[in-house]
């Protein structure tokens, strides 16, 4: 029985543990991290989605101003993280006149 301990312990120490470590490290590396290009893409996606949301707000406001009967599409039940649930940070690139802000209440909820 005494002789069995090193026979079991040595393979575990020198084979199983390094294998476990390397196995999970490569797994983690392939799935957990994103490359620099991915990061740039995520940043661009964020900007585009946000800008489109703001433009859509503007368009809906313009249409609603032109025709009071216009009903904008109701937000879907799913929560979406990129909805404009805070005051717009950069209205400069948008070209949205400030006189329409009073009409924005129907679209501000998440």
């Amino acid at each position: 029985m005494e002789d069995l301990v090193p026979i079991i312990a040595i393979p575990i120490l020198f084979l199983a543990l390094p294998w476990l470590f390397l196995h999970y490290r490569t797994k983690w590396k392939t799935m957990g991290t994103i490359t620099h290009d991915d990061e740039a893409m995520f940043e661009e996606l964020y900007r585009i989605a946000r800008r489109l949301n703001e433009r859509m707000d503007t368009v809906e406001r313009l249409v609603a101003q032109e025709d009071p009967h216009f009903r904008p599409a109701q937000p879907a039940a799913v929560d979406h993280a990129l909805s404009a649930d805070q005051p717009t940070a950069a209205p400069t690139s948008l070209g949205a006149p400030t006189r329409f802000t009073s009409l924005s209440a129907n679209r501000s909820q998440p």
Partner: protein
């Protein structure tokens, strides 16, 4: 094109000295993951008491080697939440962006439908063109 050429790296760990208590490691972890900073502080204190202070050098080394968080890493709270989501799960963030685009598509479709179906001025103009 790019307003600030040295683009800050959004997927690396920074220590958040401005919101931190000692060196900002816990606050940096909280900022990185999106989990409240209180949990990291409690965890750090528990870990320090269990291990008899063995994690304190690790804390200090992290505090020395981790870069400080740039002042304007995020424009606002929404952007911070977005990047926390990216770091937690890029796949889920991709799905969320897709959901956002679908939502915009739906809203745009509603505007289009409105103009196609019930805009008398446009209908008049189309009539005039015939």
């Amino acid at each position: 094109m790019n307003p600030n050429p040295p683009r800050p790296d959004h997927t690396r760990f920074y220590r958040d000295k401005a919101n931190g208590k000692i060196m900002g490691v816990c606050a940096g972890l909280a900022d990185y993951t999106g989990v409240d900073v209180l949990w990291f502080r409690i965890g750090a204190i528990i870990a320090a008491s269990i291990t008899g202070g063995a994690v304190i050098p690790a804390y200090i080394l992290t505090g020395i080697f981790a870069a400080k968080k740039p002042a304007h890493l995020y424009v606002d709270r929404d952007e911070q939440r977005y990047w926390q989501g990216v770091r937690q799960s890029p796949q889920r963030t991709t799905r969320e962006v897709r959901a956002t685009f679908r939502e915009i598509d739906r809203r745009l479709a509603a505007v289009e439908a409105h103009y196609v179906s019930s805009n008398p001025r446009l209908a008049d103009e189309i009539e005039a063109l015939r």
